[in-house]
Point group: C2
Chain length 115, copies 2
């Protein structure tokens, strides 16, 4: 009957363009390596080299992913000397991840299964 018309969030209706943006953000967090990269700089800013060492990936790969994360405004970059430190762009990123962690760690209703 109606379109999307719900989401008692800031804006009640969600434009198609916004949906595409949302999907892009979720897709970026949907890759294991990229999610680990974000997680590894959540608490404190980290350089590309540090992140690469922590997540066990090549600096090249980390740089590629950071480029995407930066373009999507999920992280921000800051020069310190000849290293560049990355950190989450704002508080929402951490909130999103924490909510998802809550979803994962929620007790599985064994009576319901997956039905």
């Amino acid at each position: 009957m109606a379109e999307i018309e719900h989401l008692e969030a800031p804006e009640r209706r969600l434009a198609e363009e916004r949906v595409a943006e949302l999907a892009d953000l979720f897709r970026l967090l949907g890759d294991g390596t990229r999610l680990r990269i974000v997680l590894s700089c959540l608490a404190a800013p980290a350089s590309v080299g540090d992140i690469a060492a922590r997540v066990g990936a090549s600096p090249s790969l980390v740089s590629h992913h950071l480029r995407l994360l930066r373009a999507a405004r999920l992280v921000r970059a800051e020069r310190r000397g000849r290293q560049i430190f990355y950190s989450p762009r704002d508080q929402h990123v951490q909130c999103v991840i924490e909510d998802m962690v809550a979803h994962v760690t929620e007790p599985r209703d064994e009576l319901e299964g997956d039905a």
Copy 2:
């Protein structure tokens, strides 16, 4: 120096297995069609046919996606007559989406650009 060791969420350290689960959940929401499917049943349970009509996709495709969303515990299914109604599995899903909407609708700091 250290591993992941932060995330002042329920559990401070995030096991590798959990990270993979998180990535899977984000990846599922990272597809435009699937995200629209979730959005279309956020306010009230919706049947496969209704969802297909709302998001403009074939019932077959919607069914495929709902199977994945159900397996990941993002939605739940409930039979009513010969139709099956789907709705979000719990409150966290809605919280995650709302947080991400907040991130998208946040004012862009034009002074910072993407740096």
